[in-house]
Subunit: 265 residues, 4 copies
């Protein structure tokens, strides 16, 4: 008979064994290219998507594309993601902290999707996400589902950040509170089996950075073109782009500390 062993971490299917628990475990991404876009949007609409306990700090949407390479838990392989988040404060009975709340994360690989969802509540779903096309003066990529383009990201007028501004970017990127809401439904009926605010500490070691002019283009899809996601794309496309900030591109490393994660109260 299969039994869970103490001090081991498991995933479905757990029956074939788990991994020794190491509280200091880091997941490393030794080579990441990030293209990050930030825009002012409608405060009421955006607030309407935050669950209880999370307060919007600024009416601001972040769209971050990451090309992850040399990923430790993939034996040096890679994947791409697009993280849609907003700056929030968590006001709990015990915990009170600021961070980036992930509204949805598209990834092009199932393995990190499963782990992120079930272990730390990151709302990851699948999309085809192109590698970064580096074609100066254009840097661009897109996300699609079954051949249906729904997001285009582009940077132009790209200039390196150097000196003190680069040091500032480095310092600001070292520690990031990734905040999520882990939801697991009841079986066979409506209702919340698990509904937990979760902190997932991460950080980026910035090696190079650039600023530029960014463009974020959402393309709505019909329900049959993306049955399980069209309503998410609709909602994001309906958040107005009131003011686009400068886009930033970063080359560096990412360190993720899933076992330093915890349920917030």
């Amino acid at each position: 008979m299969f039994k869970f062993e103490d001090n081991k971490m498991y995933r479905m299917p757990p029956f074939f064994g788990g991994h020794e628990y190491n509280p200091d475990f880091d997941a490393h991404v030794n080579d990441v290219m990030t293209m990050a876009f930030t825009y002012e949007t409608d405060k009421n609409k955006l607030s309407g998507y935050l669950p209880e306990g999370f307060e919007l700090l600024r009416p601001e949407l972040n769209v971050a594309y990451c090309q992850m390479r040399e990923v430790s838990f993939m034996a040096g392989g890679g994947y791409n993601l697009v993280n849609i988040s907003a700056p929030v404060r968590f006001n709990g009975k015990r915990d009170r902290l600021e961070g980036q709340f992930s509204l949805v994360v598209w990834e092009n690989n199932t393995q990190p999707i499963i782990g992120g969802r079930e272990e730390t509540g990151v709302p990851k779903i699948f999309a085809d996400i192109q590698d970064l096309h580096i074609f100066p003066p254009k840097y661009f990529t897109n996300a699609s589902y079954e051949g249906n383009t729904f997001l285009r990201l582009e940077m132009v007028e790209v200039q390196p950040i150097e000196g003190q501004p680069l040091e500032n970017v480095k310092a600001a990127s070292l520690i990031m509170n990734n905040l999520n809401f882990r939801f697991i439904p009841k079986v066979g009926c409506p209702g919340v089996e698990l509904g937990q605010p979760v902190l997932y500490p991460q950080g980026t070691i910035v090696k190079s950075a650039w600023i530029g002019k960014g463009t974020v283009e959402w393309i709505k899809l019909r329900p049959e073109q993306n049955p399980s996601q069209f309503h998410i794309i609709d909602a994001l496309a309906d958040l107005p782009i009131i003011k686009m900030a400068q886009a930033m591109m970063i080359k560096g490393e990412i360190i993720m500390k899933p076992f330093a994660g915890r349920v917030l109260e």
Copy 2:
């Protein structure tokens, strides 16, 4: 602020809305080709993978490949899967029933993987799974991960089943108790946040069926070739094929009733 509405079903991310709950909801697969292999194996080894409450009925491993097409929740699209299961009896305090317990299910599409894992505890993980190659006298497919073949399935000497034997297959396929164990870990430390035996009722409407000689070939991978699954493949490859039964191919429809699913006690 986002709030869950009563009588709606949600998935991560829930923030953008849910679906009306309909207890009679069916997921339909209007066109499925199944190639099913059964073999006698070592009783002790196989029993060792079953969690508490599940008792092995026969020392028998089932390897079922399904080519799913015209899938209702994918707007008529499709995917492929390989389900590894064993015949069991669930002996609970309240519930006592027989069915097929899924040890692991490989699928080549993230959407049903996520839903199956979180909503009904089906231990689905990703693999590239080829469409069925129909090349008489051979019918074959394979499963691989990042280009590494780990499973080959083949049928030869294929003969149609007709008359009363076909009627028997039809009757036996109409209702199937798919049994699973939904496991969700604690955040940031070892331990079981959710560990639930789950019943997921399904059925197949058989239209045509064939028997033949089947071959199941497991190919072990090195850890770096499939970091999160190699131990599963190792375990399955180490289950001896003591006696191969006749393989069966089925063309028909599948009806899945996720909302008739329930946690067993």
Copy 3:
């Protein structure tokens, strides 16, 4: 030293051997679903794309999607294609015949692309082409390149064709003159090394057929979104859809006779 053997057929690389030539060789597609759209367009524009010797019979563009399965030369595997063609008469010194001239064919598999281009001059290029989504009342698919949708095809109001009309469709589909222009450039400089009108005889054995209301939607791409094909998509998108005929869906078999092909004069 490698030498070509008489009576063998070769492909690049030829060095590892060829296949015995069999003039009666057929390539079989034992399971094909075709969705065919026809529309009246601008005669002058369309004529402008035909090379010397080919005369437009009607100002009509045909857009045929084929989901090819159980393909003999792929050991029972499959692929999808979209064939853009026009009805023409070839007026040669020796040959005079009517058929469908392929302006471009998108396929989602390299193997038939290479063979078709080099052996019979079919102007095949790559795209991601979705399997047919059968989601009554909608039947649809799309073609994209690196995540950029450029063509959507859809049928609704689908009705079976039966009786004598079905017999007519069957008879009309049995033999089709696929006409192409094989072009191979000079090495390292402009100029035509090979420029040959080619006949490639094919036929479809129709088993079932349906008519319906069809929609063809072209979506132009920017050059960087599809560097080698955007000008083709532009040209096709600029051919006006003056009048859409009824779309037709066909289930059946395809027989291709590449070795009955010949250079036209």
Copy 4:
């Protein structure tokens, strides 16, 4: 009517226009990671694959994996390839030069496959080729076809090359004569329509280089697992690995000059 314009380069389909001919045109790959393996093999067997005019310089097979990124003709996108070549001298009536003769090249993208085959006779065919997995101390990748692994490449004990040895690698990589044999068959019958020795000048700008211990593992496939390529894999797997030289990894840029290519005589 479509007509070829002077001083323009075309590809199938040519009907929608060509590109201005620029004799100085370079195709740039601004970011390439190469992992190159060389081994001594059987001289007679290897010579047996070379067409007339090409003489083997050493009984040596080269297996070069290239991860091509920031590719100019793909608008900054990328692809992977595995080039199997041997060192040769071309002894023509007019031309006499040394270079690397490509026996077969696998690539995971159709666009460069088509161009390379038809324009310069590079014998490119399709395979799924994984990105380089950088997982110190292991660097590895594989090639597969429809889920069937047929080639594994790995480097370990990787050490940087520095100082004068690095300068030597840089100097030796700047100019490379890629030699090919462009073959186009007759239509509909055996025979050689075009059979041309071709020079395709290329070069690599080496930025960093490493040596290490390399492993090349060929895995034979059954005909139905790879109908159009199994005989190529068989032939290569049957070339004995008599002595493995040190493997080399290179990071740099590639410059390809297709229009400096020419037919050799």
